[in-house]
Symmetry: none
Subunit: 412 residues, 2 copies
Amino acid sequence: MELEIVTIGNELLLGYTLDTNSTTLATGLADLGIRVSRRTTVPDTPDAIIDAVGSGLARTGFVITTGGLGPTRDDLTKQAVADLYDVPLVLDREYLEQLRARFAELGRGPMPESNRTQAEIPRGATPLPNRWGTAPGLWMEDQRGTVVMLPGVPRELRGLLEHEVLPRLAGRVGTDAPVNRSRTLRTTGVSESALADRLAGVETDLAPLTLAFLPDLEGVDLRLTAWGLQPDQAEEALNRGAARLVEILGDDCYGDQDLAEVVLDLLRHRSWTVAVAESCTGGLVGTRLTEVAGASDVFPGGVIAYANRIKEQMLDVPAELLEAHGAVSDETVRAMADGVRSRFGTDAAVAVSGVAGPGGGTEAKPVGTVHLAAVAADRHRTLGRRFPGGRAEIRRRSAQAALDMLRRLLLD
Amino acid sequence: MELEIVTIGNELLLGYTLDTNSTTLATGLADLGIRVSRRTTVPDTPDAIIDAVGSGLARTGFVITTGGLGPTRDDLTKQAVADLYDVPLVLDREYLEQLRARFAELGRGPMPESNRTQAEIPRGATPLPNRWGTAPGLWMEDQRGTVVMLPGVPRELRGLLEHEVLPRLAGRVGTDAPVNRSRTLRTTGVSESALADRLAGVETDLAPLTLAFLPDLEGVDLRLTAWGLQPDQAEEALNRGAARLVEILGDDCYGDQDLAEVVLDLLRHRSWTVAVAESCTGGLVGTRLTEVAGASDVFPGGVIAYANRIKEQMLDVPAELLEAHGAVSDETVRAMADGVRSRFGTDAAVAVSGVAGPGGGTEAKPVGTVHLAAVAADRHRTLGRRFPGGRAEIRRRSAQAALDMLRRLLLD
């Protein structure tokens, strides 16, 4: 089964509102094996709504709309759908009473007259009770197809989707209906094109799965998707596909978790602890590690050593070493890592120092130059990188590279 | 002038990726007075791309696409647009050389063969140089209309939009076309309904501007918008409106910058420095401060003291004090702030300790309990808060509250 989503609202087209509803809908529907084949966003104008919903119906016979169900003048969805089905809007007395009761219950005083219009629905439509707001969802269906109208307020949409829409759709597609299922394997430190080269020809092994490359600042995610398979067949194909990718990529693939979580698990497995010493990342590596609940058994803390004098005073980096090699060097990050490990009494440590820009670059060490160190037990590793992008990007890439460096050191 | 956006990618329809690019495009275009009249998201299939781009061209004569320009098999945008314009893909030798040079410059070794396809462009298209990645944007134009193809990676899209697309469009629409302009004033620590009460009736003073309340984890932004005014009239109205809001809200409004930037400016103005001592935020306050370029003259660093023993060893918090009051208490955060200030030799300091959850809550100190301290010169302030939400939310709210506490202490 496939359907289209039509989201309605000027604010979406003006860029003031991020369309999170589409994501909510798509993930909920994918879970039932229903494929969203197109999403259209139109302004609050009757012609645009009728055109988008009408062509969606013609293509798939099933459209879900969001937005335009409120009590104000610019809420035009119901009228547009009524026009499309060639029926009038009629007052649903039962819903009107429910609305009045709801206002009383919330202690908001008598219901404003403008809300009365919310009880007007296209003739033949079924109202879907909205316990999270005042506009009911509406289910309109005849031989031309089905239009489900949902409110645009994210919380109301989520409530209606979960309690009213998905249960009805589940009944329609059945429990052993074919589903779309995905699995993501994450990589970092290898470019999209290098991955593509290494995975060239693997599509035949992966069939019937599809493989997508999703590059981001922090690496490239590989997403395997099973389309239209029975749930257990999908799981089996995904297990097989994931194993094949891991076989080819080895340690370049770190699974489906956040990298910080992977690093913490590797350390916890050895009963080891880790401290951080951060210059250009300014606390971002610590932030990444402590985003993971339960990090405290592995991570006691660290030092943000943004100024050189702090690198000396709090991390025992010798002034002569800083003088000789500069703050952005293998020698300095190694000393920072050793210093924080010794001060914090941990088994492992990572350190980062770099030029995040926009100022501070030199010919020898331009903006983007970052040195990283990882130490664990009696082993250590240092690395100089040159990252592209602006300040925020260089910092995010640096934190990710620092965590990955420690991960690889622990695996070796 | 109006145009349509077509975003391309299975991952958008599967709900795995939030479409932030559309927001970036719409706000940039609105600034030039260009209206986005429709947005369509289609899967990575040639027919769907051709249909959506073709009907957008028929309706408005101008379409911007995002996504599907990468080096892999599922990147089909160029071929689809070439088919639509009935031209072949041809190799752009100049761009190929630029690509090779870019790979060499980044020290990534020889360019993988799969990147060669990125230099193939529809005949007649103009490549838009992409300094943020490897896929060029493409500008295709003839008597049927214009299609501008942009990559789907948000950072690359932003770069190309700002440096290549908007300047070309600005030339086309002229400089005195009516525009929509917005200005945002930010608040934190005051609820949306409290702000609405204090601003009741202000709409008449603000006309012809509209006022929107945009609540977020970190506070409530107030957005003033001028619709369809000449650029200088819009600016004047926004200046007047912003002044009126500041008059009413006083210090509760901190301007239009990031709060960390405001705090750094206040400190810099006094030639003061600040250090941070972070427990539950794990480096997030340091991260916020160092996101701002040039923070180093004010911020030498800090200590992430996640474990109690680090609070003792690195921040000189007495063991008896921790024993008596617990790590999450006014007494402890005050001692942490004093400790980091003294160790780092700064004029000011902030400290945070709390229960970010999901575990670790008690009846007396449930998840969300956070204590904050700020010290500056001979003054200090401590505060206990109980924040709603999950772990990530509590941490973000805590970092924002810590910065705001220092801001208010500096203003008093």
